[in-house]
């Protein structure tokens, strides 16, 4: 009997260890090389096996695994990355000059490889968000040049190419079906060596990185979806860096470990200008006047946000100086008990609270408000169909390309794909179309702010707060890159 039990135990032991998550706590230690390993807790687990064509691209670029031809600098302009420089040949053609670099599989970053990589991206289905509606062709040009031709004039191509989903991978990273695999094929300072499902990943330093050897020997990444759990991981010292700490948990972290970064994410109240009570501009104006944004920034976000100033917040550094006052706003009419539904989603825990505060503010002004809170994917199709009178939405205003016009075109123009406010206004459409055509950066920004003023003038959108993202950074960590576009986190200088 005892022998049987022993045998059973011996048999069960490996079966049980199979039931634990591997890639675990004490992964490969980098003692052989210099520098210690960083431990990072990320919020969003890979959804598509770390394919760069979807949202996982952000994970890859934040971890310093992949690089694109260009990057965004602090002012939201294109900066050199794998391409050291570029110039516009004519209005449809650009020439990018590559720097000397190698892929993590040891091969050279040649113009042919880069052109092939971009071609793979254009052929992906569905196409990466940065390329939606764009047709481009990439060809090698000489020993260091890549010539990119677009079907239509594209004044923001260098910005577009900074998108993490246009990361450059070695030929080995693509299979015959067109799927892209960044494991060991990218160009960044860190190289993925192991991925365990959606729970963890192991990165090692890539020694031949063109920008110099990283100071950390490697990175152990854990994907922890629950915000409180990420905060707990930082507090118990299980991780050095924890991404996106929810506002509710921020107070539980030491002040020294709490870093705030203004983001391009704006939470706004969208009023359904297509149908229902808010089709009346007078009522929209009444709703706008009823909203007190400072109560939201201080009360709900506990000061971890800035009160809404416009569609673009303080993270878009040039916006404040160029902002124009909206003109031609309608006069507010008395709501007199108008019934409205206000919808929002609970994937971001602050939004239901914002909606409840708004409900009180609107009711004080004379509206009768019914709330509808759902999970986002259960809400979106109804919202797009205009079934709600008002919607509280957190939106990244520099989506995908880093081009400020994109969000205006998709969210507020008549045929925009994400027009949740159901806005269709000729003045707005003209202003947005005008901005789309301007090539010069400064002038484009001026045109964008004119379009913003036109949109705000319709009162279809009431900016509520500009969120700041809170990153938990262990006290011993140096050199974490916190940027407003949420595209970087680790680089060669990050260490503990």
């Amino acid at each position: 009997m005892h022998r049987l039990r022993l045998l059973l135990a011996l048999l069960l032991a490996p079966a049980l260890t199979g039931c634990f998550a591997s890639g675990g706590a004490e992964g490969s230690s980098g003692d052989a090389k210099s520098g210690s390993r960083l431990r990072v807790a990320l919020a969003f687990p890979p959804a598509e096996n770390l394919s760069p064509y979807g949202a996982d691209a952000t994970i890859l670029s934040r971890l310093g695994v992949t690089e694109s031809l260009t990057a965004l600098d602090a002012n939201g302009a294109a900066a050199p990355a794998l391409a050291s420089s570029w110039r516009q040949v004519d209005d449809r053609t650009w020439l990018f000059t590559l720097r000397e670099a190698t892929f993590q599989d040891g091969t050279e970053v040649t113009p042919a490889a880069v052109a092939a990589s971009l071609t793979h991206a254009t052929e992906a289905s569905p196409a990466p968000a940065a390329l939606s509606g764009v047709t481009l062709q990439a060809k090698a040009d000489g020993s260091t040049g890549v010539r990119i031709t677009t079907a239509n004039p594209d004044p923001v191509l260098p910005l577009r190419l900074s998108s993490p989903s246009l990361a450059i991978l070695a030929e080995k990273g693509y299979d015959e079906k067109g799927a892209a695999d960044p494991v060991g094929t990218a160009t960044g300072p860190f190289e993925i060596t192991e991925v365990t499902g959606t729970t963890s990943a192991t990165l090692d330093r890539y020694d031949d990185y063109w920008g110099g050897r990283a100071q950390s020997a490697g990175v152990d990444v854990k994907f922890i979806a629950d915000g409180a759990a990420r905060a707990a991981a930082l507090r118990t010292g299980q991780t050095d860096l924890a991404e996106a700490i929810p506002v509710a948990q921020a107070a539980s972290l030491d002040k020294a470990t709490r870093r705030e970064t203004a983001t391009t994410r704006t939470t706004s109240l969208l009023l359904n200008a297509g149908k229902g009570p808010f089709a009346d501009p007078g009522l929209r104006a009444a709703a706008r006047r009823a909203v007190d944004t400072s109560a939201l920034a201080d009360g709900v976000y506990e000061g971890h946000a800035d009160a809404g100033a416009g569609i673009y917040g303080p993270a878009v550094t040039w916006a404040e100086g160029k902002r124009k006052q909206p003109a031609g706003r309608a006069r507010a009419t008395a709501p007199d008990g108008t019934k409205v539904t206000l919808a929002t989603y609970d994937n971001r825990p602050e939004l239901p609270e914002v909606a409840q505060v708004l409900k009180q503010q609107l009711e004080k002004a004379g509206f009768v408000v019914r709330l509808e809170v759902r999970e986002y994917s259960r809400l979106e199709s109804d919202a797009l169909a205009g079934k709600f009178d008002a919607l509280v939405l957190a939106r990244n205003t520099l989506v995908d390309t880093g081009d400020p016009v994109a969000v205006l075109a998709s969210d507020f123009s008549c045929d925009g794909g994400y027009n949740l406010a159901q806005l269709c206004d000729r003045v707005v459409d003209r202003a947005v179309a005008g901005a789309e055509g301007v090539a010069d950066t400064a002038k484009r920004q001026d045109a964008v702010m004119a379009a913003e003023a036109a949109i705000l003038g319709t009162d279809a959108v009431v900016p509520l707060v500009h969120q700041r993202v809170i990153t938990g950074v262990g006290t011993s960590v140096r050199g974490a890159l916190l940027d407003p576009y949420e595209r970087t986190l680790l680089s060669t200088g990050t260490r503990r």
Binding site: L16, G18, C19, F20, A21, G24, A25, A47, E48, N49, S51, G54, A55, S125, P126, A129, S132, A179, G197, T198, T199, K222, I224, A225, D226, A228, A229, A232, R235, T236, Q238, P246, A248, Q249, A251, S252, A295, G299, V300, D346, N347, P349, P352, A355, V357, K359, Q360, V373, R374, E375, Y376, S377, R378, E380, L384, N396, D400, S410, G417, Y418
Partner: protein, 589 residues
Amino acid sequence: MRHQLTPLLWRSGLTVALVCGIGLLPWLSRTDPALTVLKARSAERDPTPEVLADIRDRLDLDDGPWRLLGHWAGGLWRGDAGRSWISGAEVTPAVLQALGVSLLLMAVALAVAAVTAGLVCARTLYRQGRRGRAGGGSAVLAALPEFLTASVLATVVGVQLGWLPALGWYGPRWTVLPALALGLPAGAVLGRLLDDLLPGAFAESWARAAAARGLPRRIIARQAVRRCVPALLPNTGLFVVGLTGGSVAVEQIFDIPGLGRTTLQAALAQDLPVLQAGTLALVLLAAAATGASRLAARLLIGPALRDGALPSLHRPTPPARAIQPFLHGAVLLAVVALGLPRDPLALNTRERLRSPSWAHPFGTDALGRDVLARVAHGALDTLLLALAISAVALLAGVLLGLLPRLSGPLVDTVNAVPPVLGALLVTAVAGGGPVTPALAVSLVAWAPLATHTSALLRQERAALHVTATRGLGAGRWYVLRHELLPAVLPPVTRHALLRLPGIALALASLAFLGLGAQPPSPEWGLLLAENQPYAERAPWAVLAPAAVLALLGALAVSAAGGVRRRPRHRTVEAPVERPARVRELVGAE
């Protein structure tokens, strides 16, 4: 042969129907899977028609549900459950991995539950059934929401004290806290059910004979447990499946890559291959658990069941404990009475998260609302709805429990469906009306009651007095009405009341699908959910609703002490006398 075949066919039929139901879900609910898949892949991506068309094309969605189902089922015999619609990864290894994690968690949780159940019954076991019952402690424990226990354990034990790891799933030490969060309430329910049966066992003649013979109390207690456990095994089987597939909150808080989270994500994104595979695994597990619990019951009391030689498990005398329910009721009423004059909706963000004071006896929540007012105003809605659902579940549970052949496989299937998926299926069929959440919860809530009923009935049918009554010429209806139901109803009713707080919580857990109470309604489940993120900074905001919920549990259980079999015209010696008579009757056949 037919006896074996019919249930098997019924069971397979149900499984097929369930899998088909999942396969048809997007088409029934008219929710475009391309859209939900896109949002699961990348929440920020604009759903332009071109992108959706590309996804539809990639996933062959235009083939229609039946061809997709057929294709998926075609690969099953090879162990190939297709590829995930979200990630494109193979489903089988991912689901098996998650299942392994969940099974291990469930096993440890079950061990915790066994210990908890033992502690709940310790007093009864020690006193061998002589008067006095464990108080409302276990009912309070049973009413504790898992996510609350989990976050308290994670913050206090894991983070502040640092005794055990609060996060991840890397070895045996990581299993302790999540297993405690899951096992404590489950153990409390099982312990209550066991505690309910034990006095009956101790009152049986063999126990008295053994005591008179001078056998050690330990041995008598062990035999009494052995005598009662078979009635609990089916319910334990339900917990096995429920804990494996439905511990989403605990998996999230402790970051465990289990099956609950996998199926939840798949259900929301309508990632049908993963959802079908995960549900199928759970249904198979349910069948296995049922089989195992039958086998165990047969091993424990098989011969007695076969020979109809079980004494009835009626408790001898109902303990008259009149004061406890009144006490619980009075406290609950007082809270409601104090809170009703206050405004549950007036928010003031400058007063947020204030600790309890004279102005706000229960403190304020994250929006500066008075927690006492919210608890009191939520009481009526919560209680009425939960009571109504409990009543429906009790009725359905007892009726279906009377037909174990029909209901057994049905219970297993229903219980194996993850709650969110169940709600989605109900919404797809019944639409998103105001009764949908109640319907969705009732559809699941009857299952444990039916199981309990069948288990008790199985034993009761084998009891001597039933054989005797039948032998005296009583018809089936007479036996049912006068012998079986009176014996079965009281414990099942107590069980239903014990699950009352759980039903209130289940209702709230559907809110995020846009079903049921919506903020700012002060419904109790919603109160708990909205204050959970602040549990560490403002514990009162969660503890107050949790406490009233626990109080409700204690009230339900202590009041249910009155739901007992009416003392019938027989003396305490009756069970001792009856066997002799029955043997004569049986012998005369």
